[in-house]
Each structure stands twice: as C-alpha cells, then as structure tokens.
Symmetry: D2
Subunit: 429 residues, 4 copies
C-alpha cells in the first residue's frame, strides 16, 4: 500500500490487474505527476537547488491493483453538513466498484461515522447499482450524516467485521482527519485497509484543490438569492438587499456569486476586514447615488465586530456570531437613528443551497471524483483525498489537504475582479 | 361609464369603435355573464324566488368604446409587496394599449401611489412597447413600489394634469381601496376616468377570483424550500425541516405546496387553529416512527399562540408575530428539555419567492389579465378589478372583491386533500 | 358497483367503511354534482323543460366503500406516449391505496396493456410506498409503455389470477376505450372489477375535462422552444424561428405557449385552416416590417396542405404528415426562389417536452387525480375517468370522455387572445 | 502597441495611467506569464537547452495605459452562430469601458462584420451602461450576427470614421481571422487600433484555452436532451434515444454531457472513428441485455460513413453530412430488416442549446473575459484573444489560437472517463 505520509508497508495481497476487458483508456503510470506551481519563476529556484519542485500525483486507473476486487467489500460514509453532489459521488463510487472492478458488496454507513460504531445501532445498508441509479436527482445524502468524530478502534472493528478493505469518506476537514485516524489505526493493526477521502466543502476552501464538488451549484443557487435581494432592493426607495452566504473562513461563494451579473455592491468576506463605520458611510453614499444597494456577506466575515459567543459545534468548528443578523440590525438602527427611510430585506438561503441537487457541472465532477477515488483505492493508495488541479485529477495526502485552508488573496486577481464588479472600495476602514 | 357600484353617469365621449382592423376574435356582449355558483341546488332557490342568481360580468373586447383611444393617455401604478408577474402585467397593458387601441402615451408611476403625488417628486416614466419588451424576464416591478395610501384629490390632480383617462392599479386590498377612492374622487369632479384594478395578492386570497397571478409561481418556489427542508430533515437523525411561507389570512400557498410531492408532514394555516402541545406530541410521534419531519407554516397561522406585538404596517396590515421563529424556538426548547436529539433547520424563503419572475403559467395569465384590463378600461368600466372564474375572465366591482378574504374551508376538499397528503390529524388540539 | 353507462349490478361485497382513523376532511355525498354549463341561459332551457341540466358527479372519498381494502389487490398500467406527471399519478395511487385504505398489494404492469397479457412474458412488478417515494423526480413512466390494444379476455384472466379488484389505467383515448373493454368483460363475467381511467393527453383535448395533467408542464417546456426560436430569429437578418409542437387534433399547447410572453407571430393550429399563399404573404410583410418572425405550428395543423401518407400508428391514430418539415421546406423554397435572404431555424422539441418531469402545478394535480381515482375505485365506481371541471374533481363516464375531442373554438375567447397576442390575421386565406 | 505576432510599433499616444481612483486589486506586471505545460518532464528539455519553455502572458489591468480613455471610442461586434453568454460579454465590455476607464462612446455593430461595412446600411447602435444592464437574462446577441468575412479596408474605414481605437470581436475561428485582418490593415495604415478577440466556440475547441464561454451552459442543456432520450428509451421496449449534439471537429460537448449522470451508452465523437457494423452489433447486445440504449453523437462524428455533400457555408466551414439523421435511418433500417421491434426517438436540441442564456458559471466567466479584454485593449495589446489556462486569464496571439483546433485525445483521461461512464468498447471497429 502507498501512504505518502506514513512509513507503512504491506505486501501486495496478490498480483491483480485491472479486470475490465475493454479498458478505460490508458492507465496512469505510477510516476505521473503535475506541477503545483504554474510560473517558471516559482519552479526555477527548486531546479537551481537541484531539488524537485512540488508536484501532485496524478489520479486514474492503474494497471496493477493492490486488492483482488473479487475478494473484498467496500464501504462509504458521508459526514458533516449537506453539499450538492454527495449522492452523485456515492453513485459513482458504487457504479465504478461494481462495473469497473466487480467488487461484490458495497456498504453504505448511516449517519456519518456513527454508522461505523456498532453499539450505536445504525446497521449499514447494502448499495447496489440499481439502488443508486436515480439518486443523482436527489439533494442531500441518502446515507444521512452526523457531525463529530468517533473512536477509530471501534470503527476499524466494524470494518474488519464486515470484511471491508476499502473505505470512502465523503466529508470536510474533520471527516478527513477522522479518515486519517482510521487509516492509522488500520496500519497499527497491520490491516490492509485503503481509506480514501472525497473532500466535501461547499466553501471550496481546501488547499491543493482548485474546485471541490458542489461549489459551482452553490454559487448558482447563491446567485438566486442575490437576484432576489437585488429585485427587492430596486423595488423600493432606499431598498437594501442583504444576503448571508456560506463561507466560514473563505469567501469564495460570496466572491464568485458577486461576479455573476455583478448585482452586488458590497461583498464582505472573512479575508478582508471592514469597519461598520466605513460600511455604513459607503452604503449611505450608494443609496444617495442610486437609491438601492445589495450586500453579500460570507458567514465568517466581520466576526471581530461581534462579541464572541464562544464554544464549538460537534464538528469542532468555532461557533460563529451571526453576521447576517448583526448587519441587518446595525444597518436598520443606523438609518432609524438618522430618520432616513430604509427598506432592508434580509435573505439567508443557506439550507436551500446546501440541499440542492448537483448541477450538471458538479454531477460530472462527482462522477470523475468517485471513479478516481475507486481507482486510487484499488491500487492500494490510502490516507489521501482525490483532488483537482490544473484541470486534472490528483492524489493529495490528507495531511497536506487539511494543513491550512485555501483563502482569497486580498491582493490577488479574484478579489481584484470582485472590486471591479462591485465598485466597492478596496478596504472599508 | 359603467361603475357597478356608484350611481354615476357620464355621457359617452364619442361613438368610438374597436380600432383594430383585424379583430381579436368575437367581441364580448355587454350582457354576457357567468354564474358564481356551480351547483344546481345553489342556484335553484334564486330561480324559484324569481330572482337572478349571482353572476359575474365577462371580460373581453367590446365593440363600442367609451374613450377615443387616439385622444387619451393612460397610467399604470404598482403598489405593495412584490409578487411574480407584475412586470408581465405592465407589459401586457402597455402592448395592448399601443397595439390594440393605439393609445399614444402610457405613463408608469414610480413608487406606488407616491408617484401620483406631485409634491413627492417622483416624475412618471413613459412606457413604450420597446421599453417593456423584455421586462417579463425580470422579477419585481420596474416601476418600484411603496406601501400606504395617498390623498385621492392630489392623485386625481396629477392624473388630470397628465391628461390620463384610464388608470391601471396593480396591487392588493389596500391598493384596490385606493383605486376606488380615486374613481370616486374623479366621479365627484365629473371627470371621465376609468380606474381598473389588477388584483395582486401572492396569497390568492381575493374573493370572487379563483386564481390570482403569481400564485402558481409562488407555490412552485415554495416547493423548493419544502424540498430543501425535506432533504435536510432526512439527512440527520431526528431531522426537522421547518418552512415559513406567505399566507397572512389564508393558507393557500402552504396548502398547495404541501400537495406537491407530499413531503410535508404538518401543514399549519391561519384557518385551522392548533395547540403547541398537540403539535409537539404529534411531532414526537412522527420522529419516533420515521426519524424526520417537515413542517410548513403560513405566516398568519398560530397567531393566538404568541403575545400580540400590536401595531400595523404602512399598508394597514396588522403586524403579525413571527410564527416561524416562534415554532423554531419552541420546538428546540421542547426537545432540549427532554434531552432528545433534534436537528431543526429553519427556512424563510419569502423574499426569494416574491421576487421571482413569473413562470410560464403566470406569464400567460398576466398577459390575459392585462389585455382584459385594457378592454374594460376602453369600454368605460371603472371601479372594478379583472377576475378569473371557472376558467373565464370577469369584471368584479372593487367593493365585492375587497369585502372579505377568500379562505381555506377546513371542512372542504382542499383541506381534506392536505390531510390526505400529510397524514396529519384533522385538528391538532 | 356503479357504472353510469352499463346496466350492471353487483351486490355490495361487504359493508365497508372508510378505514382511515383520522378522516380526510368531509366525505363526498353520492348525490353531489356540479353543473357542466356556467351560464344561466345555457341552463334555463333545461329547467324550463323540467329536465335536469347536464351535471358531473363530484369525486372525493366516500364514507361507504364497495370493496374491503384488506382483501383486495390493485393494478396500475400506463399506455401510449410519454407525458409529464405519469410517475406522479402512479405514486399518488400507490400511496393512497396503502396509506388511506390499507390495500396490501399493488401491481405495476409493464409495457402498457401488453403487461396484462401473460403469454407476452412481462411479469408485473410490486409497487411499494418506499419504491415510489422519489419517482416524481423522474420523467416518463417507471412502468414503461406500449401502444395498441390487447384482447380484453386475456387481460381479465390476468387480473383474476392476481386477485386484482381495482385497476387504474393511465392513458389516452385508445387506452380509455381499452379500459372500458376490460370493465365490460369483467361485467360479462360477473366479476367485481373497478376500472378507473386517469386521462393522459398532453394535448389537453379531452371533453368534459378542463385541464389534463402534464399540460402546464408541456406549455412551459414548449415556451422554451419558442424562446429559442425567437432568440435565433432576432439574431440574424430575416431570421425565422419555426417550432413544431404537439397537438394532433387540438392546438391548445401551441395556443397557450403563444400566450406566454407573446413572442409568436404566427400560431397555426388544426382548428383554423390556412393557405400557404396567405402564410407566405403575411410572413414576407412581417419580415419587411420587423426583420424576424416566429411561427408555432401544432403537428395536426395544415394537414390538408400535404399529400396524405395514409395509414395509422399502433394506437390507431391517423399518421400525420410532418407539417413542421413541410413548412420549413416550403418557406425556404419560397424565399430562395425570390432570392431573398432567409435564416430559418427549425425546432422540434416534442420528446424533450413529453419526457419532462411534472412541474409543481402538475405534480399537485397528479396527486389529487391519483387520490380521487383511488377513492372512486374503492367506492365501486367503474368504467369512468377522473376529471377536473370548474376547479373541482369529477367522475366522467369513459364513453362521455372519449365521445369527441375538445377543440379550440375559432370564434372563442382563447383564439381571440392568441390573435391579440400575435397580431396575426384572423384567418389566413 | 504590442502585437506578439506582427513586427509593429506605434509610439505610445500619451502617458496615461489607470484612471480608477480606488484600484481593482493589484496591477498585472508586463512580464507575468504562466507555463503552458504542467509536467516537469515537459518543461525540463527547454531548460536544459537553455530555452524558455512555452508560456502565456497573464491578463489583467495594467498600470500604464496605451490609450487615453477620455479621448477614444470603442466598438463591439458579434459574429457566427449563437452561443450562451454573448450578451454577458457585451455587457461586461461596456460596463468596464465605462466604469473602469471612462470611455465615452461604445458602438455596437449590427449583424456581424456586415455592420462595419458602411454601404450595407446597418447603422451601429450606441451601447450605454443602462441599455446593457439586463441583457444577461437574454440568450443570443442583442447586436445580431452574420457569417462570413468582409473587406478589411472597408471595415477600417468605418472604424476610422467613428473614431474607434479599440474593437472587440466576439466570434469563432473565422471571426478571429477577420479580426487579425483588421489589425493588420490598421497596422498597414499606421493607425493605433487595438483589436481584441473574445473567442466564441460552443464546441470548446480553441487551442491554448481550457474553457471557452458558453460551454458549461451547452453541456448542461445538452444533458437535458440526453435525459429526455434516456427517459424515452426506458419507456418502451427496445427503446433507443438518439441525440445529436454540437461538435464539428471536437466532441467535447458530447463527451462532457456523457459524464453527467452517465446515462449515455454510446458516445460518438469526430476524434474516434467507428464503423456502422460495430455500432449496430454493440447496440443489439445492449438492447438484448438491458432493453434500452442512449446514443449521443457529435455532429462531426462519422462523416466518413456518408457520401460527402461538398460545399462550405458562409463562414467557410465544410458542410457536414447530417450524422444524426443518417444514424436514425440506418438503425431503423437495420432493425426493420431483422424484424426486431425498435422504438427510436431522435432529438436534435442544437438551437435550444445555442440560444440559451448563460448559466451562472458562464455568466461570471463572461464578466471576467470582458473585463480582461478591456484591460488588454487599453494597455495597447492587439491581434490577440483573451484565454483561460490553469484557472488564470491570459493573452493568446490570434495566430496561435487559430492554428489548429483543440481535440479530445482518444488515448487521454477524458476519453477514458467517457469509456468508463458508458461501458462502450474502446474502438467500435
């Protein structure tokens, strides 16, 4: 098995080869990699120092398999909040295991990692090609989900009992760390278990991955909320449409949905601090000039403006203050004090976005993520996630993927485009 | 002019006839009416008493016109909250005035009735066929809106100054009463002014009208929220999806969106009272049985459960307590006290529904409403709204249309279908 | 049993009552009817002659049942071409049989009436509430379909073998006649079999029924094709967008989709003949005036312009000439001969319309149709279809429903509105 | 001015700097480039030979401008067939010229390059921020289009007469070659004219550009047709759904829409030849096994199977044989000869795809393409297109972009994924 992180070796179980009689195009060679950097001046220092520049292993079907597909079972688990495309990934994994490799049994664990803990009493369900045929049409996850970790030993017990040799974990940061813990526990026991993560983060904030599944759908649905906010705003004197969007640490959804039709006048993200005084002054100017305004705020923006509530949720995330409600009330109060008319409409579309079925783009992305996750597992990779970089699917060690969140660079092209689209000041301080 | 309510006569201005060279099918005769009732036993008593049973005048183009289209100008005003299809109605009125009658100038008043009050400084905008060609694609109202009445005398002054002989008012209860006040003021002055209402109520709660524009679109968009609530609910243990929908006095949106795919387990409407104790007991049963539940609540439901906030909004509507937030908190508190897990997701899609462009059904309905409003105006009708009854367009006096709201009959077929679809108890007491 | 057509009596099997513990609102009384006519002068002659005017029996749950639900099985069959909403009806029937009445087994027959003929070897599939839960999201029919009749005796043999006492047939004219033949064969055998039709005709051309399921969805999807035709037409000099829509005998889809946004300039339907010479002349005028034009033609329009191909399809329908291709070629030839530039784009969206899932309106309509079909069956009605009239669900004898097709009245309000929306001449001769 | 192809120098007109008071993020430096290759072993040979590996210049706002925005006018022209997003690009260009640079007059030329030829009599229309505000909601092009080249000298005369210093050409291969001819004619005259192409190809077949605008929308709409084909196919015995999609030389739309939900069983593209015999054999096998099949064929596939019609269209493209109709007829004939039942439904959704408004992804992409085109023009770039590579916007010389079409590699990852999704044989020979 190949775990790019752990010093861990298990002899190859057999001498299996890719079983499909017709092939799926060419096989990916084990040495194939793509560069992490895209500029010559980023790469040159490594070369001049005689070192290899950072690269990511390419995903894809391998000619030699680690596992004999006919002898193993597989498992799938979905954790954390909803995100468009989870069912597409489940479907792709089940179909690929079945049609490409002939794996007999695929178990779906219920309610996240809880489903891998036998004493909690959620028996796994068998997933068949027929059973998953139409699930792409459904939002959410047919396996249901939960938050929070479980004891790795208990989970590996469960996997061993069911004869599961490959486990696919669809989830975010916490889920991936849980997957790593499972992989480590299996390694400790000397058990050949392949644990492959398919990163789920509607915020698109995973390092070393350019686009995560569900993000495009989320932007499209976020845009519907912005459209509504804009329509309400222009329909009344001093109309203000305020939309709170997902984005705990990274404001990609707010930024990209601002770039769609450019109806947003103020885009507020966690990466770019702002003061209420400046926001209110700029809002007043905008209303005086045009009579209406639209504000898109990521949920993690402006946290420093509110009194910290403290605490963490079950997934271990810091509990955020509700910046949407805070802004709504602060803006209303401000205009009320000045006795200026204000027609503010506040929209929080989060659950309608999260529960939406994947759009065609994400549906295709999920298909390929699922297939590549299966290829990786069957080739004996473990403790990794399937990534996407420079339009190619890659293998990324979990530790690398979870080291730090990908964020908007306030000096970069994306944020510059947002400023160009909104006309908002570069910094609101 | 014909005002079915006021005893009011103006000599015919000329002897105009429908100007279109090609005709629009046959003309509607002045005596054409349809029955209000649809059952023989409802009609028979009238006939046996020698009386005419209640009937509604049919809308449609009249051969003889009251106004000479070449000599008059027209005005359009939109009031109150947004509703899908307002722009379609504006467009239909402008196109019909222009293409069918050759009226030269059509003014759009800005910001509701405020736009008819000169001293408030919102100059009207000229509406041309080219200018309105693509507005159906937009939600909201291109004229913008406001709430609340204005002084009839000031508004009639404005209309007289602009030479407006026909005014179209798109709005709800308060707007229609304002339209009547304008018609009455004009009559008092002996001015030939036709005031035609196109009833806008997303709640579909106007008596003598089976379906108002925007309602189908609202149900379709409400269903998206219910779908999201359902998806979130099944995705977690003891998942509860709670959706607050429009419906101040009448729960038609909640009821009809419950009938779409029947994903709702508890539909709560203003017409059918419920107790929190019973709702909670039934919710517990449902969760014990199925592990998830969806609740759709109309904004006017369960008002008696909350402490009255008192007061009215600018449109004169009683300020409602927020039943959505109330239920959310009460349910959370209940399960928290019992130390039972609960994953409640609350969705309030109101502005996303209100600001949505009309779907094709409503777009066609708006076209026909607008055309029939123009036909009515040109034939000299006033102080009336265009209605829809038994698949036909009708003329309804404003007083009749605003006398009392249409409501769900808790003993009737619709509510029975809701009970059949949800499986909820008939009364939750 | 009650067959309004046949003189047919079977003693009540038991003394069953509606089993649901909670009720579904009030029960429909056996004498409840609504008037077919909506104008007083249509009804008065009957009354003056001492006769009852034509009425339709109201649908709904009956207090007394004919069948004991605990002892019977049910069957569903879908025939003919696809139409949005078939799966919604299947789902509603299965859920109502199960949840409202407790019927144990519901069989779905495969491939239309072929599935009821044992020797053809399509075993029926058992339909459970779980199995149909998500099928509303799918277009088409999960049971698949076929065209053409089968031998009634063979089909009743099959029903008897499976112990089926109530059969639901979802299909058009031919299907309903087949359903009647089954009902008659059962009556001949003295077997208590309830056969209930749910009329499926995307053309909305069934008499005594105001709107059939799938029609609204079809209009909405047809409008997409018209939008495309319009967009292509305005994008080129002398651009002509030509769309062929469904409508064998009745042009309702073409007419209603013309009323959505009024982008159509020529709407051609079977009910209103036209000459090529006149169409071409008017098209030339339109292009000279505006530079582009959109034509919507129903498939049954202008059949007299083409040489008859003769023959019938498996459903017994006359094979139509392809008016879309005929018009496309004739218009191209005409402008080519005159050496005038023409950019004609031809769109035939039929299968994309037919295979679309039901929109929310139709989804709710299908739910209620299915529920009322089950109520009718359990109350012992047979040889009838569930209809919709004046916003109420009704029972219509199959003979009445299939006597003649509902058509657009060229002198009526609908066609007048189409003329008003297109500006096309009243008759193109 | 900087033309990476021509040896062409004009002195800088002034010493202008970016005029926006607030900035749009950081400026792009003139030396910033990204690597064309993404693998180390592709780059190393260049470095070892002491040469620079191929790189693409980064797009973005430049600090120093070539033109003084206050003194120039701009023009936009759209050519060739429709593609989702053209209006978004027009809008983005107009808004950026106006808001970011303060260019006073922007002319939209009507009917493609014809609009630049004065004697053809299509006066240009002035494009204002207000006029383009809502055009993203519309499919097609508000400027209309035409095919084929015009005389460069006449077009440059027109540009000179209107004082246009920057011209944006939205179109495909032929359009870009026309743009180069204009740039060359201007250079010949010594006129400082910046000609910037925004590549429009729904087929996504432009080299050096990873994704062109409209492609995602096209795949999404293509998927609707595939969904319809699939639904029709499963709804009948031996049902075959056949969909013809765009793709003259490159089958990207067919390939990617095959990856959405994987409902396609045979994906046929120009890059991978097939024999009818093999296709029919495999189709028979599939039908015997599953009873239904879906075929997606790109319009340029299988051209060698048909007798060449010869000729070219006005854009200079070879006239293709109609592979959709050819396959439809050949498959029907084959099964008819074998007296096997076949229910084939043929769908050609091309115009409905081409005329669709951009989806949110493409809408944002178009915004950024338009902004970067304006940045490039104002900085004095010419004879280039705006590209997209490794998630960054780039400048690509027209000659490079039009040298050869981007195609699917039959040995590559994409085609492998298609084979994995369809299960079709690698080669059908």
């Amino acid at each position: 098995m190949i775990d790019q992180e752990m010093d861990f070796t298990i002899e190859r179980l057999g001498d299996c080869r890719f079983p499909s009689p017709m092939g799926l195009g060419r096989f990916t060679g084990d040495g194939e990699r793509i560069l992490y950097h895209c500029r010559l001046d980023e790469i040159r220092p490594y070369l001049e120092a005689g070192a290899a520049p950072p690269q990511l292993e390419l995903a894809g079907p391998r000619e030699k398999l680690f596992f004999d597909p006919a002898t193993i079972s597989a498992g799938i688990v979905t954790c954390g909040g909803l995100c468009p495309g989870i069912n597409d990934v489940i479907r792709a994994v089940v179909l690929s295991l079945h049609h490409h490799y002939g794996v007999g049994k695929v178990y779906g664990f219920r309610y996240g990692y809880e489903g891998l803990v036998k004493r909690l009493g959620h028996p796994p369900q068998l997933l068949t090609p027929e059973g998953v045929e139409h699930i792409s049409a459904l939002g959410g996850t047919i396996l249901a989900s939960s938050r929070g970790p479980q004891e790795p030993a208990e989970m590996v017990d469960c996997l061993e009992e069911l004869g599961i040799a490959v486990l696919f974990a669809i989830g975010g940061d916490g889920t991936l760390k849980g997957a790593r813990a499972i992989a480590q526990e299996a390694a400790r026991r000397g058990k050949a278990l392949s644990v492959i993560g398919i990163p789920k983060t509607i915020d698109n904030d995973i390092s070393f991955i350019q686009t995560t599944f569900g993000f495009e759908t989320a932007v499209a649905e976020a845009q519907r909320a912005i459209y509504a906010a804009h329509t309400e705003a222009v329909g009344a004197r001093n109309g203000v449409g305020l939309v709170k969007l997902m984005g705990r640490d990274s404001g990609f959804i707010a930024a990209f949905s601002t770039l769609v039709e450019s109806q947003v006048n103020f885009c507020l993200v966690p990466e770019v601090p702002f003061s209420m005084a400046s926001l209110l002054t700029n809002l007043e100017k905008r209303l005086a000039l045009r009579g209406h305004a639209v504000i898109a705020v990521a949920e993690g923006a402006g946290q420093e403006l509110m009194t910290a509530s403290g605490g963490h949720d079950a997934s271990g995330n810091v509990k955020l203050g509700d910046i949407g409600v805070f802004l709504r009330d602060a803006i209303k109060e401000h205009f009320s004090q000045r006795k200026q008319e204000l027609n503010l409409k506040y929209i929080d579309p989060s659950y309608m976005i999260r529960s939406h079925p994947a759009n065609p783009h994400d549906s295709a992305l999920c298909l390929l993520l699922g297939q590549n996750a299966v290829h990786a597992a069957m080739a004996g990779r473990t403790n990794m996630v399937v990534g996407f970089w420079n339009h190619q699917f890659t293998h990324v060690p979990i530790t690398l993927a979870t080291r730090q969140r990908k964020k908007i660079d306030p000096e970069g092209v994306l944020w510059g485009s947002v400023l160009a689209a909104t006309g908002q000041p570069r910094m609101m301080y």
